[in-house]
């Protein structure tokens, strides 16, 4: 039996009833496909486990409080508009509008770093969850291949090792760059791509090692 297709693996996670009987039977017998499906489930679970709301990091509290106070002061000034003479109203209104605008600008300036930091923290948490999910899937496949390595030709094992070295070097570069620039979406994309290639190679070698068949 050949491995499940990509869409069958996703069906196995989303709605197993959509799997054909041979595909379902294969899934119960094949360590590789089971590992893939388990990794997908873990990935989904990790994403679901992410908090819907995050407590802003401690260092943002002061900034938010300061901004809120400034904004509240602005609002108080707005609601305390004198409703007397029209001339006074126009003059006062113009003055207050200018003040409110300045306060808004100040508030935005104060909030921006805090919001950016919070967003970065969310991305870092998501990145760690995704990376852990990939690492688990890689470990599972490496274990399965190690058990069947006698079925592999030395040339295939060398090819595997050489490709893993190439991929691991790229992953290390991306990871180091991420450490210096946490939450960088572009570097996360590089990390994802590296892990996907690693899984591709391990799956391919695993299939030829007879991990399932």
């Amino acid at each position: 039996m050949e491995h499940l297709t990509e869409s069958e693996r996703h069906d196995a996670v989303d709605d197993p009833s959509r799997l054909s009987a041979p595909a379902a039977a294969h899934l119960t017998a094949c360590a590789l496909c089971a590992a893939d499906v388990a990794a997908l489930r873990r990935l989904l679970a990790s994403v679901r486990a992410l908090p819907r709301e995050m407590q802003p990091p401690a260092h943002t509290h002061a900034a938010i409080r300061a901004a809120t106070a400034a904004s509240a002061q602005g609002r108080r000034m707005h609601w305390s508009l004198p409703a007397a003479a029209a001339v006074v109203l126009v003059v006062a209104s113009s003055m207050i509008t200018a003040v409110v605008l300045r306060v808004e600008q100040a508030r935005t300036a104060v909030d921006a770093p805090a919001a950016a930091a919070a967003a970065t923290d969310v991305r870092v948490v998501a990145q760690q969850a995704v990376e852990q999910s990939y690492a688990d899937a890689v470990a599972e496949l490496e274990r399965a291949i190690a058990e069947q390595r006698t079925n592999l030709a030395p040339a295939t094992l060398q090819l595997l090792q050489s490709n893993l070295r190439t991929i691991d070097a790229a992953l290390a570069e991306a990871r180091a760059a991420l450490a210096a620039d946490p939450g960088n979406a572009m570097l996360n994309e590089m990390l994802r791509s590296g892990y996907e290639r690693k899984l591709d190679v391990l799956r391919s070698v695993g299939a030829h090692a007879g991990v399932q068949l």
Partner: protein, 295 residues
């Protein structure tokens, strides 16, 4: 003494001649199967050629070399047939040559070690997996999956969903695809067709090369860690390029001005529009160089 040796040699000759005959044998099998049934073909080394035809039967002919542990076999099962030879205990198999005719709409699965594979005229699902065998696919498979470790892949097909994966092999793509993903580790990926609606091309260190026109409204994504990305386009392409690179460089030999921006992705973000910008081409590299030039 010489006469005795000569007689002994002559006596041994039939046995010596018979040795290859025992290891090698001709096969010719024919089985009726359903038009959409599966056909699984296994071959360790040598050559496999699969061709779709308009009959509800599988015909396999060729020359096979059985191994000490396994023989060429044909196994019928519900929904299809499996034929071929597979033996993971053999490190260096003697090449077998198989030519297989299958119903055009069959689901074809081919698995080889170093055997080259050609599949043509199949309209059903095609799924090929080799270690080092070269793979070539033509025709109009509905869904196409090709996976090799070090074998080269040549696609010249018209398919809906296509996935081509290799580690060190080179992938060359012609034909027409609604949804195509091609990935490698260090192997190069060369695209030479204007008929891809959605394409994704990824490598770690392999170069990505796109030659020729771009389909209107195509969406193409190129992702590589360290490979070079090169576009060789006709004089008046219509595409919007968005290039993100962490440490790489962009070189465009078109006159369109490059816009430098700070989008959501840090690193260098550059974009430019050629013609009306109908197609959307996204490139992301960690340190790979990006070159866009006219034909």
């Amino acid at each position: 003494v010489n006469r005795v040796l000569a007689i002994l040699s002559l006596a041994a000759l039939p046995g010596l001649l018979a040795m290859p005959a025992q290891a090698q044998r001709r096969v010719s099998v024919q089985h009726a199967i359903g038009a959409g049934d599966f056909v699984r073909i296994h071959n360790i080394a040598g050559n496999v050629k699969v061709t779709g035809w308009d009959r509800d039967s599988v015909v396999a002919t060729g020359t096979v070399h059985d191994t000490p542990n396994e023989r060429f076999t044909v196994t019928r099962a519900e929904g299809g047939i499996t034929l071929g030879l597979w033996d993971t205990s053999v490190q260096q198999a003697t090449p077998s040559v198989l030519e297989v005719r299958v119903p055009a709409g069959a689901q074809v699965y081919v698995r080889t070690g170093s055997s080259t594979v050609f599949v043509g005229s199949v309209t059903g699902t095609v799924d090929i997996n080799t270690v080092s065998g070269m793979v070539e696919v033509a025709g109009t498979p509905r869904d196409l999956t090709v996976e090799t470790l070090s074998g080269d892949v040549m696609l010249d097909a018209r398919a809906r969903v296509t996935r081509a994966r290799t580690a060190t092999g080179a992938i060359r793509i012609r034909g027409s695809y609604a949804d195509l993903t091609a990935t490698s580790v260090s192997g190069s990926i060369t695209v030479a067709t204007p008929a891809i609606e959605r394409g994704r091309f990824e490598s770690i260190s392999g170069d990505l090369r796109y030659t020729g026109d771009v389909a209107r409204d195509a969406v193409l994504d190129f992702v590589t860690h360290a490979g070079a990305v090169e576009f060789v386009l006709p004089d008046a392409p219509s595409a919007e390029f968005i290039v993100h690179t962490y440490e790489g460089e962009l070189e465009s030999r078109f006159r369109a001005p490059i816009r430098y921006g700070g989008g959501k992705l840090k690193g260098r973000e550059m974009s430019f529009t050629l013609g009306q910008g109908a197609a959307r081409i996204s490139v992301r590299t960690f340190k790979g160089r990006v070159i866009v030039r006219p034909l």
